[in-house]
């Protein structure tokens, strides 16, 4: 520092004050700049969108969070266009009209997963349930109670095994061997030219599509080096890594019946601390209608064609496989408590579950013991 520099700001009293004020403001701006710069390393981005007949939020933290969220939204829109039963030119709509469809890799993979989960659960999850969903009006909102005869007739075409090996026998492994291409057109299609659904069979991807989609978003998060992310596709939640402070994401499980005497004190069934896990809940409360004093919910039993009466009011599946979690939340709801827990015991390495019964009692499988908390009493099930 020399006298010349000093003279820059100490000339007269007025200028001195002005210079001091300017310097103070400059310093403040500098701090804003520095604090902004510090944040730039961990940008967070979030978007809300309406797709697949529901509301979705995608949130991510990381240097490329904005790109990752944008790519995720585009992926959701792309898959929605492929699978929407409300869009006439979607692959699923065309399949349901029994057209011969050159399946995209994503649709082929979706069908493979659906058949796999359907077979493993002995048809408790069945993607061929579509004609029944339509008969009850769950696809349109024009609800009605079909007659026994109508259900009998429709049930003849509900059989996930009729879809065994969609495409061809060799195509079954294509998804694993060919790797993923982001636009999902090339790799699978040459193996799956002209796939047609069996006569009278129609499919409803609704029980698995959101789980598949959330797994795709996790792949995108990985691609963009996201350090933490949380997505909710209409209440299907999947957590990527951790929150910014390094702790696990806290995913609440909706109370399926706040008017229930045993559940009324709680806002939630409980909270699961999730890291790289999907938390997916199915319950009759999600969609239902009333007719002549009886409530009919949307989770249909593929064996009876009627709303499942397994004694459960909500089933939550926690798994690193979102697609599996989505399918199993429906399957275990259909199975009922005892069969559901038997199924878990045989597959305890793949998922965990929280079951809420009609009497309000809560069962939690042992893999969640350390990460599930609740204000309500619950029983831990061990295998």
């Amino acid at each position: 520092m020399n006298a010349e520099k000093k003279s820059l700001f100490i000339h007269s009293r007025g200028k001195q004050i002005a210079a001091a004020a300017a310097a103070v403001i400059l310093c403040a701006v500098f701090f804003f700049f520095v604090s902004g710069k510090g944040k730039k390393k961990t940008v967070s981005a979030s978007e809300e969108l309406f797709a697949m007949d529901t509301v979705m939020t995608v949130s991510a933290v990381g240097e490329r969070a904005e790109e990752a969220v944008k790519a995720s939204v585009e992926e959701i829109r792309r898959l929605d266009a492929l699978w929407s039963v409300g869009k006439e030119d979607s692959e699923i709509s065309r399949l349901n009209r029994h057209e011969s469809v050159e399946l995209s890799e994503d649709t082929a993979r979706l069908l493979e997963r659906a058949v796999e989960i359907g077979s493993d659960t002995d048809g408790a999850f069945d993607i061929t349930i579509y004609p029944l969903m339509e008969a009850w009006g769950f696809t349109t909102g024009e609800y009605r109670v079909p007659s026994e005869a109508e259900l009998e007739e429709l049930l003849q075409h509900v059989d996930v095994h009729s879809l065994d090996d969609p495409g061809s026998g060799t195509a079954g492994t294509s998804a694993e061997t060919s790797g993923r291409d982001t636009d999902g057109t090339e790799a699978g299609s040459d193996l799956r030219q002209g796939y047609t659904l069996p006569e009278d069979v129609q499919i409803d991807p609704g029980g698995i599509a959101k789980g598949y989609t959330s797994d795709r978003i996790m792949e995108i998060f990985e691609e963009y080096g996201i350090s933490g992310g949380l997505i909710s596709l209409g209440g299907n939640v999947e957590a990527w890594h951790t929150r910014e402070d390094g702790s696990a994401w806290r995913v609440g499980i909706r109370n399926p019946d706040p008017s229930h005497p045993a559940l009324s004190s709680a806002e939630l069934v409980g909270v699961v601390e999730a890291e790289d896990r999907a938390v997916i809940t199915s319950g009759g409360y999600e969609r239902f209608f009333e007719k002549d004093g009886t409530t009919y919910h949307h989770i249909l039993d593929p064996y009876t064609g009627r709303p499942a009466e397994g004694g459960l009011i909500s089933v939550t599946i926690v798994s690193s496989d979102g697609c599996l979690a989505d399918g199993l939340s429906t399957a275990l709801f259909v199975m009922g408590r005892d069969k559901a827990l038997d199924y878990w015991k045989e597959h305890s390495g793949e998922f965990d579950a929280v079951l809420v019964e009609e009497d309000g009692s809560i069962s939690v499988t042992s893999g969640l013991e350390e990460i599930f908390t609740s204000d309500l009493p619950f029983t831990v099930i061990t295998s």
């Binding site: 520092m1 103070v24 403001i25 509301v55 909710s232 957590a239 806290r250 319950g283």
Partner: protein, 122 residues
């Protein structure tokens, strides 16, 4: 002379830092109900001020948002299922009311009391 410059500089820095923090702290943090339509910001209303506003949703659909006693609720809606009206009132950070047909989301932000979870499955 060098000492005086350093002191002056330190003084400016301190004053600047103080100004920065004052700006930070005084940033408005009042609780509000943020309304989004089709994912786009639509409006934000102070929860401390009672009012009733009509929200113009997707495809001409409407929802009547009522803010009363620090809580927000939907009291009338053009949608067929009226599920938004059944969702009751919200007042805590992160709580939402959603109307799917009109693509309207009302979310509470800026309250002191935070929810003990990041998302809800179901």
């Amino acid at each position: 002379m060098w000492k005086r410059d350093a002191a002056l500089l330190a003084g400016f820095l301190a004053a600047g830092a103080a100004l920065f923090f004052i700006f930070r702290i005084s940033r408005p943090e009042g609780a509000s109900a943020v309304v989004r339509v089709s994912g786009q910001q639509y409006a934000a209303y102070d929860l401390g001020e009672d009012r009733t506003v009509e929200i113009q949703g997707k495809d001409g659909g409407t929802n009547l948002l009522e803010i009363r006693g620090g809580k927000a609720s939907i009291t009338e809606a053009s949608c067929p299922d009226r599920l938004c009206m059944r969702q009751g009132s919200v007042s805590r950070q992160g709580e939402c009311i959603i109307c799917l047909p009109n693509e309207v989301v009302v979310e509470i932000t800026g309250t002191k009391e935070e929810l003990p979870y990041d998302a809800v499955a179901g």
